[in-house]
């Protein structure tokens, strides 16, 4: 049994309006930034999973995403195994 460190990024699905990202973007000119656009605010979760192999670790985390970490109506989740 190994222990895997996993990073989950939850993002709003394309087409879902993101007032938070838009607000951040609107603040940029006042801060002196130019050429930055299409900011989308999301969430990141780091966790450790006990699993026999990476495939199983991913399977468990995908289920966690589907049931809790992301709302599939409005969010997508991307899973990366860090270690």
């Amino acid at each position: 049994m190994a222990n895997f460190e996993v990073l989950v990024e939850v993002q709003l699905r394309p087409g879902i309006s993101d007032p938070q990202g838009a607000t951040i973007e609107r603040a940029l000119p006042a801060l002196g930034f130019a050429g930055i656009s299409e900011i989308r605010a999301g969430k990141a979760f780091r966790l450790h999973v006990d699993a026999p192999d990476e495939g199983e670790a991913r399977r468990v985390v995908n289920e966690l995403c589907a049931r809790l970490l992301a709302n599939p109506v409005i969010e997508d989740a991307t899973v990366s195994v860090v270690r």
Binding site: I16, S17, P19, Q20, T23, L68, L69, N71, V73, I74
Partner: protein, 227 residues
Amino acid sequence: MVVFPGTNCEHDVVEAIEGLGGEAELVWHAATSLGSLDAVVLPGGFAHGDYLRPGAIARFSPVMGAVSQFAQGGGPVVGICNGFQVLTEAHLLPGALQKNKGLIFLCQMTELEVVSDRSALTAGVEVGRRLRVPINHFEGNYTASAETLRALEAEGRVVLRYVGNPNGSVHDIAAVCNEGGNVVGLMPHPERATSELLGSPDGLVLLRALLGTAASSSLAPRAGASA
């Protein structure tokens, strides 16, 4: 009234229901059975601090199994504000509630239009009637896939619409119901519109309809639905 850690509107709902002659009981979220109830209300508040997403953790509370069964049996279930969010996260209602369009917390009176009288919350209420009921939320912006929206509109499952959409909800939707009409979610707070002193008594129209539905537990058959 189901009470989650962080729910804060349950007493207002109790008072409104009792004022109408109904009997109200508080059920803690850890309870695994509802006892013998005629209707269930999921009141407003910040269940689990709205952590992760509003309602995302509450949907896994032990009591939700019983609520789901009660709903499947045709029992009236009404989710108010945070309660609506819990119902969508629990998939007892379709769609999701997002951050308000202007990214502002809205605490204001709204005008609603009754779109369907075929729901546990609007049975016997005149379609087209306008009601003034306050909202109090940051994440009340209703959204759903194009397919879901089509189905909701075609099946008459949009229950209330905003007149003067305050939060960007798609199709101005303020309340929806399930196929059976017995599960209803709404963002406005009817329990806060129970007298002129509070600004409007129109919330009583909805709560009275709910009590009526609970008492009779019989809804008009939906067009196209089998008996």
